[in-house]
């Protein structure tokens, strides 16, 4: 399998607080890769290191064959045209409407006509489950779930090959969350994209994630498919997966499949 992202021996520290101590993981092409861990375990920071928002204290990250520590400006820009990012809190541009937020990259990077851009934007708005009137609203007029959806639509605007999602389903209603999952699976299959998603959502983990890693105690304590991870007896894995609630969800998801 082609490796899309490789994280090698990442160390992240702020002063004397160490967040990551030699973290390793590999994301393969066309996979939906999950990152799981307690709040504050450094998932968002790890994602920021993959998308060149933060330089790791030590270690290396490769994305689509580029070594990020000494990447050239042009290569960095071309990487940025190939990925889409859904931030944990949306990070929509507050002075633009939802439609303008989605349209921005199309407008700047392609010569697609205004009319066609409108059609693309409207389709994306509908794909993520927003009502079409949402296009004209400013981010301040959106609810938390709507912000997530609008941010996903923006991340999908240029049909990226690589999608980073930071807690995409948190803040969504359960039905909306499942539609989100379905859309991500559909896009993965139709467009061959690779998805890295940070999630706590057990249903997403059981149903759509192919492989994932568990971040705890500054390390990746388990990595691989669900079966692989469940073999670990790290306390966090035990606590997260081996309880009534988790098993009930697993039974429900398995029943559906």
């Amino acid at each position: 399998m082609e490796k899309i992202i490789e994280v090698r021996d990442i160390v992240t520290s702020f002063g004397s607080t160490i967040i990551h101590d030699k973290v390793n993981l590999t994301v393969e092409k066309n996979n939906i890769y999950g990152i799981l861990g307690e709040s504050g375990s450094g998932k968002t920071l790890l994602m920021k290191e993959m998308i060149m928002l933060l330089k790791p204290t030590a270690g290396e990250v490769w994305v689509l064959g580029h070594k990020l520590s000494d990447i050239r400006y042009q290569d960095a820009q071309s990487l940025r045209h190939q990925w889409g990012i859904l931030f944990q809190f949306g990070a929509l541009f507050t002075s633009l409407t939802v439609a303008e937020n989605i349209e921005l990259q199309l407008k700047e990077y392609t010569s697609i006509s205004k009319k066609m851009r409108d059609i693309i934007v409207k389709t994306k708005i509908s794909m993520v489950g927003l009502p079409s009137r949402a296009g004209g609203l400013y981010p301040s007029a959106l609810s938390g779930g709507m912000i997530k959806r609008a941010a996903l639509a923006r991340a999908l605007a240029i049909d990226p090959k690589l999608l980073f999602l930071d807690e995409p389903t948190s803040g969504l209603d359960p039905i909306g969350a499942r539609n989100f999952d379905a859309l991500i699976v559909e896009l993965r299959e139709l467009l061959g994209i690779t998805v890295v998603m940070i999630t706590h959502d057990l249903e997403s983990i059981y149903s759509i994630v192919d492989r994932f890693s568990v971040l705890a105690d500054k390390h990746v304590v388990a990595e691989g498919s669900l079966e692989n991870v469940l073999q670990s007896n790290h306390p966090f894995v035990e606590r997260f997966f081996k309880n009534n609630y988790s098993e009930k969800i697993k039974m429900r998801v398995d029943g559906n499949v």
Binding site: T110, M116, G136, E186, L190
Partner: protein, 384 residues
């Protein structure tokens, strides 16, 4: 784009168009469209241009088997022209993959037909909006002033509301930390004023009057104005930006619901801090301004420092100094009120922080100068 005309009867092709993304064969009784290559976002404009040129008048067969790659925009484009061609002719689509078909159905499900009409506003609308919003802003400022005044009065009945720690913090931030820039500006202004006047005075042999001129103008007018302008640019803008950012992140809403009145927690501490710091800063600016002037006088007119100071004590009556100092709290109230008011006017988007910060600095400098002129007139009328 290449269009080749075939006149041979055997193939019955009338014309053929060949491009990297599309091959179009026009036969006598039908049109064959072959989609080829990458039907993706970056090629969309090129493909679109070619498709626009086709106005079919006979049945179409649209073949997908040579398409190498696609994304949502490619399939959307197909969908638009498929719908358009279908309106006039029979269209048969062949050779598509399972993925392409599924993408088509995904997009079809999310196809939004109706276009939201774009509103355009005329000049009259903008003029009207400008006037109305100006009036509304004025009303809001009155409202703000009223609230602030009541909150201030309540200090006397509820002294516990006074936030000493905050006041001291803001004295440090807006006062102490401004010392360097204020001393630099007032020293330079004092120097420039004396240097420029020295040339003129020397022509009349009135060298020593430089002291009268610099002494009065610096203490009475220049030091207060310079201080106010620096503080407006430095602290007034900071107040607007801080409070504005708190407005956007809904910190102010959170404060309100927790019973922390923003007037006590944000506005009054800043205002009182400036009211205390400003006269002290003006006093400091007086000293540095006169030092600058002394420096220029000794360079240009050979007036020694002792001569300068002796003359200064003789001619500069203390009232000029006090008038300069008294202006301090008034300027401070203006700057702090405008800065905080503008911050509270910030709406939900980041652009309005920029707008309000600019407005805050421009307004406060204007009103400081206006207030200064007012002082001049009143004091002259009173003969002081």
């Amino acid at each position: 784009m290449r269009i080749i005309h075939y006149f041979t009867g055997f193939l019955d092709i009338i014309s053929l168009m060949n491009t990297p993304y599309l091959r179009i064969e026009e036969h006598l009784d039908q049109i064959n469209i072959y989609s080829m290559g990458e039907w993706t976002l970056y090629n969309e404009p090129d493909i679109h241009k070619i498709l626009q040129k086709i106005s079919p008048d006979k049945p179409i067969t649209w073949d997908f088997s040579e398409m190498e790659n696609f994304d949502t925009s490619g399939i959307l484009l197909f969908m638009i022209y498929y719908e358009k061609f279908k309106a006039c002719c029979k269209v048969r689509v062949v050779g598509y993959s399972k993925e392409q078909e599924r993408m088509y159905h995904l997009l079809l499900k999310n196809r939004v037909k109706e276009l939201v009409p774009v509103q355009t506003e005329g000049h009259l609308y903008h003029i009207g909006k400008f006037v109305v919003s100006g009036y509304e802003e004025f009303l809001k400022f009155l409202d703000f002033t009223g609230y602030l005044f009541v909150a201030f009065l309540r200090y006397f009945t509820h002294p516990a509301n006074i936030r000493y720690k905050e006041i001291i913090y803001h004295i440090e931030r807006s006062g102490l930390n401004a010392l360097l820039i204020i001393s630099l500006t007032s020293f330079l202004v004092g120097m420039v004023i004396s240097y420029q006047s020295a040339v003129e005075l020397a022509r009349f042999g009135a060298d020593i009057f430089i002291v009268d001129l610099a002494g009065v103008s610096i203490t009475r007018e220049l030091a207060p104005l310079i201080t106010a302008i620096v503080v407006a640019g430095r602290s007034g803008s900071a107040y607007t930006a801080q409070i504005g950012a708190m407005k956007i992140t809904e910190e102010i809403s959170a404060m309100r619901t927790m019973g922390f009145d923003p007037y006590y927690f944000l506005v009054l501490p800043r205002m009182l801090a400036l009211m205390i710091a400003m006269p002290l800063l003006i006093f400091f600016a007086d000293i540095l301004g006169i030092m600058g002037s002394m420096f220029a006088a000794s360079l240009e007119l050979n007036i020694s420092y002792t001569q300068f100071l002796d003359r200064l004590q003789e001619v500069l009556s203390v009232k000029h100094f006090w008038i300069g100092i008294i202006k301090g709290p008034f300027f401070a109230i203006l700057i702090a009120m405008i800065g905080c008011f503008r911050g509270l006017q910030v709406t939900d988007d980041t652009e309005s922080i920029g707008y309000q910060t600019t407005a805050s600095v421009v307004n406060s400098i204007f009103f400081v100068i206006f207030c200064d002129a007012f002082f001049s007139i009143i004091l002259t009328e009173w003969g002081i």
